[in-house]
């Protein structure tokens, strides 16, 4: 079947729904596809809050500076200015949609402190801020009757004559392939956390958006910038929100020492995430951890605050470790959490490929540069989701409808069928996925070096070869998850390769990229973005783009 829309949105998390809403409000016909029901999107897992300089004592300039300093000066400052200037408006808009934000005594929105921020500007709903936003936005999607195709999985972008004009997707519930033809397509497919094992990310975060764009010829930018969150739970790697430290929790080592005093004496536990994760890694390497973990200590905060403001992480620690954070410190370690890099876009979400847009975690505007500040990601999804929705609604007015695509749908159908028909030779998606993930965590984690990265690249390429013989052992048509996992594995390998080649390329330490062989930041040579494009033979090609500096010259970064 072929379905036509003006705007096709791939992904129904915050960025996807926000851009769909905006495009619809501006008169475009909009279709949203999502591989899970919108309410299952990973935006819902964001815990701590959303940043905006709303308070009279704060200003967008201070927010922008914190963000740029946090990014280790790799963020494009014009984009950061836009985000921080427009943040209050998007925050208020979400409040008007019904988000039950925490209030101060005067009934106005109240804040909590967060990492890397010089003012308390994080607005929140307990420790379920992402979920509260996701619910409110989904409710608004229902109200304004935006069409969603739930549990549809995109297999390829349709790019006739160098312009993106839709995507082919599998309707999982019915097991059919369809071409969704559109005048503009936006990728809002979220992150690629599952490329790492462990990761705080949900199982659905497999870099689909990154890979779809990459295969269609759009460049990926800053892919080496992979954020390790300082507080992920021992074992499972679940997220323990930065909000805990925002509320005053300590990080301690096996001697009970608040070790951050040696790394960031001013900001202590609330230094930027890259700084805290590195500090923890050093503590562990120097033998001051216990069983590969340091501690998040909330005991002094008291039961009432924990139950009121941090109920979800309290429950997760209790469920998965049997530990009550009211009584005991919680063992945590740095864990893969977020990818700052993504599909290169301008500040309206447009990628260099005409007709293709991206927003949210799978995009790189870039506002996060080398390291994202906590609570800036929810903001990023809303501001750039909205802006790209608006831009697409304008853009599609001058695009003529298309009558072609049957052939492309047929060739995609054949490709998928060939995958289903592949005989079993012993390789399974699950084993390769695990191998890939542990490899990435091991060699492309908090600290990196040339030898490790080269080793990782060779291994990922070997995994790619082996993935060619992964067979799908489920031969059913309805809800064939094994097929989906096999396709996702290919996406993840693309993401891994792009990440590694970018990390090899950047011969300095900046933000989340810490090279033990190049331990210093090198502004003379590397104050620029690394871009990866897929060349015709499938190999990655590197190029560069200068960082946009407006008013904040790079300085030494201390917390």
């Amino acid at each position: 079947m072929i379905i036509d829309y003006d705007v096709l949105v791939l992904g129904a998390g915050l960025a996807g729904m926000r851009s769909a809403l905006e495009a619809k409000r501006r008169g475009a016909s909009v279709g949203v596809i999502s591989k899970v029901h919108p309410l299952r999107s990973h935006s819902g897992a964001a815990e701590g809050g959303i940043n905006a300089a709303l308070d009279p004592g704060d200003s967008w300039e201070i927010h922008a500076f914190d963000t740029i300093k946090g990014s280790d000066y790799l963020a494009d400052q014009d984009a950061v200015e836009i985000m921080c200037r427009e943040a209050p408006r998007d925050l208020i808009e979400m409040e008007h949609m019904g988000v039950v934000f925490f209030r101060g005594p005067d009934g106005k929105l109240g804040t909590r402190a967060f990492g890397g921020a010089s003012k308390a500007r994080t607005y929140f709903v307990a420790d379920i801020t992402g979920q509260a936003l996701l619910n409110a936005l989904y409710d608004t999607i229902l109200k304004e009757d935006v069409k969603t195709h739930d549990e549809w999985f995109a297999t390829a972008l349709y790019v006739p004559d160098g312009t993106c004009r839709g995507a082919v997707a599998i309707d999982m519930l019915r097991g059919e392939l369809h071409l969704l033809r559109a005048k503009a397509v936006i990728l809002a497919a979220g992150g690629m956390g599952r490329v790492y094992e462990p990761s705080t990310n949900a199982l659905i975060c497999t870099g689909d958006g990154h890979a779809l764009a990459y295969r269609a010829g759009a460049p990926l930018m800053d892919m080496e910038m992979v954020q390790y969150h300082p507080t992920t739970l021992k074992g499972t790697g679940f997220l323990m929100t930065e909000g805990a430290r925002g509320e005053g929790a300590y990080l301690t080592n096996k001697d009970g020492e608040r070790f951050m005093q040696r790394y960031a004496p001013k900001m202590m536990e609330l230094a930027s995430r890259d700084v805290v994760s590195r500090s923890e890694t050093i503590e562990l390497a120097e033998g001051r951890g216990v069983d590969g973990c340091v501690y998040l200590d909330l005991r002094h905060l008291g039961a009432e605050l924990i139950h009121k403001k941090l109920p979800q992480i309290h429950e997760i620690a209790l469920n998965f470790l049997g530990l009550d954070m009211v009584e005991v410190p919680i063992p945590i370690r740095p864990g893969m959490h977020y990818i700052m890099g993504g599909v290169k876009t301008d500040s309206d979400g447009a990628t260099p490929l005409p007709g293709l847009y991206a927003a949210g975690e799978c995009a790189c505007v870039s506002v996060h540069g080398g390291n994202r500040l906590g609570a800036n990601s929810l903001l990023d999804t809303l501001v750039f989701g909205r802006r790209s929705g608006a831009h697409m609604a304008d853009y599609v007015k001058n695009v003529k409808p298309l009558a072609t695509g049957e052939e492309f749908l047929k060739s995609e159908t054949q490709r998928i069928q060939a995958l289903l028909d592949r005989p079993y030779k012993g390789e399974t998606h699950a084993r390769l996925r695990l191998e890939l993930g542990t490899l990435m965590d091991d060699k492309v984690g908090v600290y990196r070096d040339e030898a490790g990265l080269q080793d990782a690249l060779a291994k990922v390429r070997a995994i790619r070869t082996r993935a060619q013989s992964v067979s799908v052992q489920d031969k059913g048509r309805i809800y064939n998850q094994a097929l989906l996992f096999a396709l996702e594995l290919d996406y993840m390998i693309d993401c891994a390769e792009a990440t590694i080649v970018s990390a090899i390329e950047r011969k300095e330490s900046r933000g989340a990229q810490s090279r033990t062989d190049y331990p210093k930041r090198d502004d003379a040579n590397w104050l620029k973005h690394v871009l990866v494009t897929r060349s015709a033979d499938g190999t990655p090609k590197i190029s560069y783009q200068p960082v946009t500096i407006t008013k904040w010259q790079p300085m030494e970064r201390t917390y």
Partner: protein, 332 residues
């Protein structure tokens, strides 16, 4: 830990190995039968039920289908029946549900199966949509937030914690016999908007939620409170809507009349007068509805469920009246 997982399997387009389950009794008899397949696996001692299912899916049988994503009760994907009760597989410890080393997991009979443990979310989500779960905001400047007390927001956080997993509707006793009942999930969300001080449609909402298939169709079995993995306690939210709608004067419905007749009888005699309860609930002059209830009445009679013809007061009924007086409300 060695575990036997008996998994209810269903694939409309394929024949499956395993033992075919018995047909469901009413009211689920229209649902397709499942095949039960047993997997024997080894897991670590603290494993969750979901860990077992993922293990099977990854290393034993790739064709086993289960919705899951976050693995820590945030995304709401993996609600299913575990030993015959609705639970999230991701936060249910295997060792807590093993009976003789065995656990049974399946999609719930109250939902239409799609494939294996995947059930059709359509009706569930449609119910939510039908309560208009969105803010119809009061006028406010576009540049400023609504000024509301934090307590009013806090009161709603309990519902906002809902992850729409569907466990409550799966095991809802009222939904089992009336698939038009809006159900605990949708009504909890309804409360969240009806009691939002920023909403301008509170009166319309309360009226609508008091209509048939709304809040008064809940039978207070507490199953939804019991199975909810996030402490939303949908029944509590339903009771709050009832109180709000009675206070707002939406009393012309069987539910309110039933509650009032119940309370009146207890206040007057210290016990329930079952003979007058039904006519009073349906409306004394609602002959049609009363006639419609006759078959049930005859069934009750036949089963020997005969209320006393002469209704006696209990001894010490004045003390019951004193309780009513102390509690206050419309009957004092």
């Amino acid at each position: 830990m060695h575990v036997k997982m008996v998994v209810g399997r269903y694939a409309p387009d394929r024949k499956l190995d395993g033992e075919l389950g018995a047909p469901y009794p009413p009211p689920y008899s229209d649902k397709p039968r499942k095949t039960y397949q047993t997997f024997e696996i080894d897991l670590h001692d603290e494993a969750m039920v979901l860990d077992g299912l993922i293990h099977i899916r990854e290393y034993v049988d790739e064709s086993l289908v289960v919705r899951c994503s976050c693995r820590c009760a945030i995304c709401g994907s993996c609600a299913m029946w575990i030993n015959g009760h609705a639970k999230l597989a991701c936060t249910t410890k295997m060792k807590d549900v093993l009976e003789n080393g065995t656990v049974r997991v399946e999609s719930p009979p109250s939902m239409m199966p799609v494939r294996d443990l995947v059930w059709d979310m359509g009706p569930f989500m449609q119910k939510m949509r039908s309560v208009k779960p969105w803010l119809e905001g009061k006028p406010v400047s576009p540049d400023e937030e609504y000024r509301v007390p934090n307590e009013a927001m806090d009161e709603l956080v309990q519902e906002v914690s809902c992850i729409s997993c569907g466990a409550c509707l799966m095991d809802c006793e009222s939904y089992a016999v009336n698939d038009k009942f809006l159900g605990p999930h949708a009504l909890a969300r309804a409360y969240r908007y009806a009691n939002d001080p920023r909403d301008s449609m509170q009166q319309e909402r309360l009226k609508e939620y008091s209509d048939p298939n709304g809040v008064w169709d809940c039978t207070h079995c507490y199953e939804c409170v019991h199975v909810c993995p996030k402490g939303v306690a949908p029944l509590e939210q339903i009771l709050k809507i009832r109180q709000m709608s009675v206070a707002a004067g939406y009393t012309n419905n069987a539910g309110t009349r039933h509650a009032l007749a119940f309370a009146e009888s207890v206040r007057g005699s210290g016990r329930l007068n079952e003979l007058t309860l039904m006519p009073k609930s349906l409306g004394l002059f609602n002959i049609k509805a009363q006639l419609q209830s006759l078959p049930s009445a005859f069934n009750l009679l036949r089963a020997g469920k005969l209320p006393p013809i002469i209704h006696h007061k209990i001894p010490g009924v004045t003390r019951v009246k004193a309780i009513f007086k102390k509690v206050g409300g419309p009957l004092t």
